[in-house]
């Protein structure tokens, strides 16, 4: 970026014709990283158990092998901070980042402003997989809920790819195949729940379907982080290729992009990341749909800047939404997906409203 663009913030040119309104300061990513660190640090100190800020940090410092031993904090409180709050907060950050990045990539790749990480049917497939394990005991105990969810997600993504390929493989076919798979797997999930589950199981399943970070453990955090890192690297490597899709696939091809290969790679990477995240936290809606639009309005459409900032803002957003979800009705917990959707639906309407004037 040249210095001339450093402060490209003018709202209107002298002629009164709107020009690009962009904030492109170099400090934006740094501010995002700082905001994420502060958010995680604050979120772990919030919770129903009355643990002082100093105690929370002495527990974390002790586990990181720094500072004093946690001798003065009881094992119960130690467990609450280290085994419940911290992994939960970190998983919220990983899920928020991953879903926002997937959403941004899919919106550009499929040229559809309403695409989100679940457009490929991954979330409904995951739900079906989870329900089969929980309600019908598929896998005979060898398969965990998240294992079943992951398998379900992979199956539904494979179905979407197969379907869209046999329907001609154009982008709108991918979206249609995704919608079809979503409907199919939602119906299967409802069918299984309605015919086989008792009230208690239904409640548990429903909670999972709406998205919850309540079951987060360290293995979820490590798997999620590893897959997020790989996926983010792949997507950033394709940042300029994604820019080339602005005028459609043919235009991208004449700019030197291998359209079919790029699409396959990016669809698989985003589906894999979504599957991993959905398997550990359920289908948390709207982060992947709304965040990319908000960030794009700030940074402009260049993916080299858009994707990292989507990751950071998605992480910060979900950390706070989850904190809200677990504290607002204390000691009851609201599924995090419910809170994201309550914020997400008005934003969704706003997106529709904004795209309306271009047609």
């Amino acid at each position: 970026m040249t210095s001339a663009e450093g402060a490209e913030t003018a709202g209107r040119a002298a002629s009164g014709i709107p020009v690009a309104r962009r904030v492109r300061p170099v400090w934006l990513p740094a501010a995002g990283i700082a905001a994420l660190c502060v958010s995680v640090a604050l979120a772990v100190t919030v919770g129903p158990a009355d643990i002082g800020v100093a105690d929370v940090w002495s527990v974390i410092a002790a586990h990181l092998g720094a500072g004093t031993t946690a001798g003065d904090v009881s094992p119960l409180r130690d467990g609450i901070v280290w085994d419940l709050r911290l992994p939960r907060t970190l998983l919220a950050a990983v899920c928020g980042a991953g879903l926002a990045v997937c959403g941004a990539v899919l919106q550009s790749l499929l040229r559809n402003p309403l695409a989100d990480p679940f457009v490929l049917g991954v979330s409904s497939g995951a739900s079906t997989g989870a329900v089969l394990v929980v309600v019908l005991g598929v896998g005979g105990g060898a398969l965990s809920v998240s294992g079943g969810a992951f398998l379900g997600a992979v199956c539904s993504f494979a179905l979407v790819m197969l379907l869209s390929h046999s329907l001609g493989g154009s982008t709108d076919r991918v979206v249609l195949a995704g919608v079809a798979a979503m409907q199919l797997f939602s119906a299967l999930t409802s069918f299984v729940v309605m015919t086989a589950a008792d009230a208690e199981t239904t409640r548990g399943v429903l909670f999972w379907l709406l998205g919850s970070l309540g079951g987060a453990g360290w293995p979820d955090v490590w798997t999620g982080t590893a897959v997020l890192a790989v996926a983010l690297a792949v997507c950033l490597g394709h940042a300029r290729t994604l820019d080339a899709f602005a005028f459609g696939q043919d235009a991208a091809a004449t700019l030197g992009v291998h359209v079919a290969r790029t699409r396959l790679v990016l669809l698989c990477v985003t589906a894999l990341l979504t599957a991993v995240l959905v398997a550990s936290a359920g289908a948390i809606g709207f982060v992947g749909l709304v965040l990319p639009h908000a960030v794009r309005a700030l940074t402009g459409p260049g993916h080299a800047r858009l994707l990292p900032l989507c990751a950071l803002s998605g992480a910060v957003f979900l950390v706070w939404v989850d904190t809200l979800a677990r504290t607002v009705l204390e000691p009851k917990e609201v599924p995090v997906g419910v809170v994201t959707s309550l914020i997400g639906v008005p934003a969704f309407v706003l997106v529709l409203y904004r795209t309306r004037r271009y047609r």
């Binding site: 020009v19 940042a239 080339a244 602005a246």
Partner: protein
């Protein structure tokens, strides 16, 4: 040696769209591609751009078959301006022109001084410097087409392919766009509907009909009343009254479709029939 199509064919939905077409545009000149709707102009341009592969025959760039070259290598040489381009992304004119640098940049490399220079130069040559920071959806049709041409120029191509670039433009902008293309020091191939614009701005014309080349040569040789009658089924008068004594076509009436006629009738008098 430059871009060249040799006996290329392509079918779609069981119908032959192109049937053994040869095309070797003269380096540095502007070649006009004429023909009615469905005659294969767009398909031929897509084959030349390497976006589609020919079913038979070969498209070569400096003697190398396009399908053996990397897509990026092709995009650094051959730029394409489509009939109509649109986006939902909030891009400025300069953002769009910057897209032309994609084939020249490595995945992780930031924009170099050469990239920015190419973008600025392309904006200047298309007289868009003042509009560079305007958003795409606020630009007029003529400005959008010029932005697309600027984007193509930022690719620094030696071959430029344009598919009916004057569609949807008013008269003044049609002339502007074609004058700009004709003055560029690149080999260009332009698909056109307007015969008079083709006569004014092209050095060489190729006429397609039903997937075959039916005429080629300088505008004065190609644009005759017989050709217009045969290819377009329109009765016309051609005079040498265009600029620089170029041909000018005046349309008089439509002729009956060939399908409506008997085998030996063309709707013309005996001395007006056919093309060789």
């Amino acid at each position: 040696m430059t871009l060249s199509a040799e006996r290329v064919s392509r079918a779609a939905g069981g119908r032959l769209i192109l049937d053994g077409v040869d095309l070797s545009p003269r380096p540095g000149a502007t070649t006009g591609l004429l023909g009615p709707n469905g005659s294969g102009k767009s398909t031929l341009l897509r084959l030349l751009a390497g976006v589609l592969a020919p079913a038979s025959g070969v498209v070569t760039l400096d003697g190398r078959p396009l399908d053996r070259m990397g897509r990026r290598d092709v995009a650094r040489r051959v730029a394409v301006v489509e009939q109509q381009a649109d986006t939902q992304v909030e891009l400025t004119a300069r953002d769009v022109v910057r897209l032309g640098r994609i084939p020249h940049r490595r995945s992780w490399a930031p924009a170099s001084a050469a990239d920015e220079e190419a973008v600025t130069d392309a904006l200047r040559r298309t007289r868009l410097t003042a509009q560079a920071d305007r958003l795409w959806h606020t630009l007029s049709g003529g400005e959008r087409q010029r932005v697309q041409i600027a984007r193509a120029l930022a690719q620094q191509p030696r071959e430029l392919l344009l598919d009916e670039p004057t569609n949807h433009l008013d008269l003044r902008h049609q002339l502007d766009v074609l004058a700009l293309v004709a003055a560029l020091p690149v080999t260009s191939v332009v698909a056109l509907h307007d015969l008079n614009l083709a006569a004014m701005y092209c050095d060489h014309l190729v006429v397609l009909s039903e997937g075959r080349v039916v005429a080629r040569g300088e505008p004065a040789e190609v644009l005759t009343a017989d050709l217009v009658a045969e290819v377009y089924r329109v009765h016309a008068e051609v005079t040498r009254t265009g600029p620089d004594d170029r041909p000018h076509v005046r349309f008089l009436a439509t002729l009956p479709d060939r399908a409506d006629l008997g085998p030996d009738q063309t709707g013309l008098g005996p001395d007006e029939t056919g093309l060789s």
